[in-house]
């Protein structure tokens, strides 16, 4: 399909792609303003702060104040991007996001980096695996988890033009750039980046690459897996899910997030009402992260391609064990 490859050796963190794209949208649209809470070097808003110092607001270590201020800027016609670590942007500031941004449906773009376990050495206090869950339940909120640098760039351009509030989940770790240059991101549209009819692996964020690698492993074992990038977790692409369910009857979700409330939950909720299909959620079980190198953590928490392939085989077994109707 020319939409993805696992042969590229290029690795870029989605937060870096965010920092670059932010400067581009800043150039394109003078209404774009950026807020950060003393983490501009880490969230990569620093590039924007240098290019457009008058449109950059370093709020200090005050995530709640940052979200409230972003709301005010939006009320007065600006397009605010507010960044911090995902833990604090969605956790510390949750109720401000809920009441002052999403309830009045203001076009604030919360672009939070260091989501999930791949924060690495900083450990569990900084590793949120609940952010998708708590952003997703807010009425009118859009939730996007880009898979790589190429997609991130497109996401940032798309959300800058989008009229409502958006949560964009970004990562610290450098990860393969694998989506092809002809890849097209659209808010609310999932993309099948690898075709297969035995099982569909639906993933978001860094797990899309892992899933693609898993599909290669499965292929060697004679299992043809479809890999779908569900970058927009909300609104969920139900059409795509219905299609996959019909075609494969067997869906595995994979995310660097708790299996409670995240992508897997969203998919399971949708498919529970859609008919006969086996759904298995893979991600972080009911537990916190811990310190360690990102890749070691992905191994420990079973988010490597081999783990995903194992999960796929187990899911297929569930399907074949099902009594025919």
């Amino acid at each position: 399909m020319g939409q993805a490859t696992t042969t590229s050796s290029d690795k870029v963190a989605t937060r870096d792609a965010y920092g670059k794209a932010l400067v581009e949208v800043g150039q394109k649209n003078p209404k774009v303003v950026v807020l950060d809470a003393d983490l501009s070097g880490s969230t990569k808003t620093i590039g924007f702060s240098k290019a457009f110092p008058e449109r950059f607001f370093n709020m200090g270590v005050s995530e709640q104040d940052m979200m409230g201020t972003a709301a005010g800027l939006a009320l007065a016609g600006k397009i605010p991007f507010a960044s911090s670590f995902a833990m604090f942007a969605t956790g510390r500031a949750f109720e401000i996001v809920r009441n002052s941004i999403v309830y009045p449906h203001l076009p604030v773009k919360i672009c939070a980096s260091h989501a999930g376990l791949t924060v690495g050495e900083d450990g569990a206090s900084h590793q949120t695996v609940a952010d998708i869950a708590i952003m997703r339940v807010l009425p009118g909120m859009t939730v996007i988890v880009p898979a790589d640098a190429i997609e991130t760039k497109q996401v940032i351009h798309a959300v800058a033009d989008f009229p409502g509030p958006v949560y964009v989940r970004l990562s610290r770790a450098a990860f393969p750039v694998f989506l092809g240059e002809d890849y097209k991101f659209q808010i609310g549209k999932a993309v099948e980046i690898h075709e297969g009819n035995d099982i569909a692996i639906v993933a978001c964020g860094l797990m899309v690459y892992q899933a693609l690698k898993a599909a290669e492993i499965l292929e060697k074992q004679g299992v043809k897996a479809s890999v779908v990038n569900m970058a927009t977790v909300k609104p969920l692409d139900g059409e795509m899910l219905a299609k996959l369910a019909k075609r494969t009857g067997c869906i595995l979700t994979v995310e660097e997030h708790s299996v409670m409330g995240g992508l897997g939950s969203a998919v399971a909720e949708y498919l529970a009402e859609e008919g006969d299909v086996v759904v298995h959620r893979h991600g972080i079980m009911d537990e916190f992260g811990q310190s360690g190198p990102a890749d070691a953590l992905l191994k420990l928490y079973k988010l490597m391609p081999e783990d995903i392939a194992d999960q796929a085989l187990a899911t297929l077994k569930k399907k074949s064990n099902r009594k025919p109707a």
Binding site: V33, E54, R55, F57, M59, G60, S62, Q64, D65, M66, M67, G68, T69, A70, A71, G72, L73, A74, L75, A76, G77, K78, P80, E95, I96, N99, S100, Y103, P104
Partner: protein, 275 residues
């Protein structure tokens, strides 16, 4: 809408608004009574004298803005906005009812003069700051007013915002503190004393003035002072009386959040010179 700087006229508007407010709350059988009566004199001065706004053109970009950070006091702004001409007075009959834009706590509706959703305490100062930042970028000259309360001042976020406004010298910010000394569970000084507020805001690099929040002349003067004091955000600490204007409500914490009964309304209207 006619604006005035005449003290007697403003006093009369404030009296009428208190009457409207109590009738509205009584009809709704739900809502906050004490706080709105306490801030009514300031609200009157803002909407009928100080603020540059146009009910016929609510989205006018250069209008002065007002955000009620203590959102539970919204009955006060609802009656004022209606009287100013933002929406018909009959709408006040639907306070807190299904489908009414007059929600129990403010919900953003610029066409009706409701500049922001509030109700969760502590957030309004940041929002006002954000609007002032945008005005500064766009080289617009409007004043950004907001109302806060002593109970709200126990919220940490308010102090984050205070630090922001002071640090960035947001000189177009004029904030009022409804300092009635009362919150839900009792008296502020017993629960967790926020005073001395003057010293705190001075330390946060604000210009601070304390006034009698029921003295129209002092309210007018304080806004004048605020506009003439450059380089800093302004905090006007208004000493107010919860339930002001109705003796049976005054200074009693239990009237923070209840609507007047039939009997109480009768007494109140009498004291306010109605029937």
């Amino acid at each position: 809408m006619t604006k005035t700087a005449n003290i007697e006229e403003l006093q009369e508007i404030a009296r009428q608004l208190r009457v409207d407010c109590l009738k509205m709350l009584h009809k709704a059988k739900s809502g906050h009574t004490g706080g709105p009566l306490g801030i009514m004199d300031i609200i009157t001065v803002l909407y009928f004298s100080a603020m540059n706004h146009d009910p016929k053109n609510p989205r006018w970009e250069d209008r002065d803005r007002f955000i009620l950070a203590n959102g539970h006091c919204c009955p006060a702004i609802y009656v004022a906005l209606s009287k100013a001409g933002y929406f018909p007075k009959e709408e006040l009959d639907h306070l807190r009812q299904i489908g009414s834009p007059l929600q129990g706590h403010p919900k953003l509706k610029v066409e009706w003069g409701i500049e922001m959703s509030t109700g969760s305490l502590g957030q309004g100062m940041s929002i006002g700051n954000g609007i002032s930042f945008a005005a500064r970028l766009d080289k617009r000259d409007f004043w950004m007013y907001s109302m806060h309360s002593d109970g709200e001042a126990q919220e940490g976020m308010l102090w984050e915002a205070a630090l922001t406004a002071g640090h960035h010298k947001l000189e177009k910010r004029i904030c009022f503190m409804d300092f009635n000394g009362i919150q839900i569970d009792g008296f502020n000084k017993d629960i967790k004393d926020v005073s001395p507020l003057e010293d705190k805001f001075l330390a946060f690099r604000w210009a601070v003035k304390t006034i009698d929040g029921h003295n129209i002349a002092e309210i007018l003067d304080s806004i004048d002072w605020a506009k003439k004091t450059p380089g800093k955000p302004k905090m006007i600490i208004a000493k107010t009386i919860l339930g002001k204007g109705v003796s049976i409500f005054e200074n009693l914490p239990k009237y923070h959040g209840v609507a007047p009964s039939d009997e109480e309304l009768k007494i109140a209207l009498k004291e306010l010179g109605e029937a």
